[in-house]
């Protein structure tokens, strides 16, 4: 059984994406590597927060994200989404399609839905939507709290940009989001 490990950086970026657009659905892809039984999700690339039911920019974003992943010697290993409604934790039809596309190239692809109820708590706010009961290790145990602090006290999420933002202004660094990278609290 494959297990999944999500880096702190990846978790915080997903959190930022959701926090930046609280009343909209957001989605993106997960990047990582597989080492024997563990898929390590090292980074994420955020895609859309606008017209998330429409496909053309999603397709282009996916292609570009894939190109970027490969240049970093990583693979697309999954998909994440957050709904604008707290009670909506199903994978949207668009999500199913994207997750399938990724699974065609990477067998152990995973799809996460953000658990809106848990976002403000110190618990990891992710639900897996492909394999039930899988092990997901999220960064450090205080990664969720760290994410909350960064948003609430530092507004770091306001510097975050996704593909939709990039399409309005091509100087936005949606593939790397270096301004939102945090020092790992691991020693």
């Amino acid at each position: 059984m494959v297990s999944y490990s999500l880096s702190e950086n990846a978790y915080i970026k997903i959190f930022f994406h959701a926090a930046k657009h609280p009343h909209l659905p957001v989605n993106g892809v997960l990047l990582g590597r597989q080492a024997s039984d563990v898929v390590v999700i090292e980074d994420i690339i955020p895609l859309l927060h606008h017209w998330t039911s429409l496909s053309p920019m999603m397709e282009i974003g996916l292609d570009l994200a894939k190109g970027h992943a490969e240049a970093q010697e990583m693979t697309l290993v999954g998909y994440y989404q957050a709904s604008e409604r707290l009670d909506d934790t199903a994978l949207a039809p668009v999500g199913e399609r994207v997750a399938q596309k990724i699974r065609d190239q990477f067998n152990d692809a995973v799809a996460f839905v953000i658990d809106g109820d848990k976002l403000g708590t110190g618990d990891p706010a992710l639900l897996s939507r492909i394999h039930h009961g899988i092990n997901i290790l999220v960064g450090q145990t205080d990664s969720p709290s760290r994410a909350i602090t960064l948003v609430r006290d530092h507004n770091l999420h306001e510097k975050f940009g996704d593909f939709d933002d990039h399409l309005e202004d091509v100087t936005i660094d949606w593939l790397r989001n270096n301004a939102c990278r945090v020092e790992s609290s691991e020693t």
Partner: protein, 305 residues
């Protein structure tokens, strides 16, 4: 942060109907605490009350119901029996009460006045967010039957259909939007992307090109080659390129709108490629380089078919 600049920002958000609730709350709270709203006065210019209304909505959005209630009381005291206040009260109710309570409240108002569009829209939005999508669509269609020129209504209908994978119906709704507001390139763009999603690539490419036509800067003095595509134009060129690829890869395409195939597909593809390369090569308005250039260059370089 001065009172004046806060008020100016609030006015801009109102003019653009932007839902930047965190920012509006920050600015609005400042004005409230400095009694800035009172100083606005209420003779001739209604900014005092529309700004307070704006703060009510933003406060509810960020969860500061205490501030919302405070402002709501101020407005209600000034305008008793106002339908606009009824709507605000309904929204405030939706924030804490179960949906059935809000629906009953709206039903009572609509019984007395069936043409209250604002309340009707609130009801439709509650129906949608509680999963009663079919009912929401039926009511929305009734509303649009009565109030055909309600662009917001047609946009909402298009969005509901798209979220249920009914892209043809979504496009039909958008066609009414385009009839009513033909000058808005964002709606043409939305229609182009919807057409693409419903696999009508001939229509999609045509609409993406229309967006370019509508948004490229006035090139009467400059040659097209000298201008850099910015913003929505870049998005449209990406769309053209993507459509060209799909059309080239598929010989037996059908267009549900009976749009004819584009002529000179290779030339369109070449133009789109060139425009995108320019967009990602120049230093744009801010003097900064485009990011992700390598990935885009690689993507546009992939041959048509």
């Amino acid at each position: 942060m001065s009172l004046q600049s806060a008020l100016e920002r609030l006015a801009t958000y109102r003019a653009n109907n932007t839902r930047a609730s965190q920012d509006i709350f920050r600015d609005g709270l400042l004005v409230l605490q400095k009694s800035g709203f009172k100083k606005l006065g209420d003779d001739g210019k209604p900014f005092r009350w529309t700004s307070l209304e704006q703060l009510v909505l933003a406060s509810i959005d960020v969860g500061r119901l205490d501030v919302a209630d405070q402002c709501l009381q101020l407005i209600a005291d000034k305008f008793p029996n106002s339908p606009r206040i009824d709507c605000l009260i309904g929204i405030r109710m939706e924030a804490t009460e179960p949906p059935e309570t809000a629906l009953k409240y709206y039903a009572d108002i609509l019984d007395a006045d069936s043409a209250n569009v604002a309340i009707w829209k609130r009801r439709i939005s509650v129906l949608r967010r509680t999963g009663k999508v079919e009912k929401a669509v039926n009511e929305l269609m009734q509303l649009l039957d009565t109030f055909y020129t309600d662009v917001e209504g047609w946009l909402e209908l298009a969005d509901i259909y798209a979220s249920c994978n009914q892209y043809d119906h979504s496009l039909q709704a958008l066609s009414h939007v385009l009839l009513l507001t033909p000058q808005n390139p964002f709606y043409v763009l939305q229609a182009a992307e919807t057409a693409y999603t419903s696999e009508d690539f001939y229509l999609a490419i045509k609409m993406f090109l229309t967006v370019v036509d509508m948004t490229d800067a006035d090139d009467s003095e400059q040659l097209l080659q000298e201008s850099t595509p910015l913003g929505i134009t870049v998005r449209a060129w990406f769309g053209v390129k993507l459509c060209a690829r799909r059309i080239a890869q598929n010989e037996n395409l059908k267009s549900s709108s009976n749009t004819s195939a584009p002529k000179n597909l290779e030339l369109l593809d070449e133009l789109a490629t060139e425009r995108l390369r320019v967009a990602y090569s120049s230093s744009g308005e801010k003097g900064e380089i485009a990011k992700g250039r390598q990935e885009v260059f690689a993507w546009v370089a992939t041959p048509l078919a």
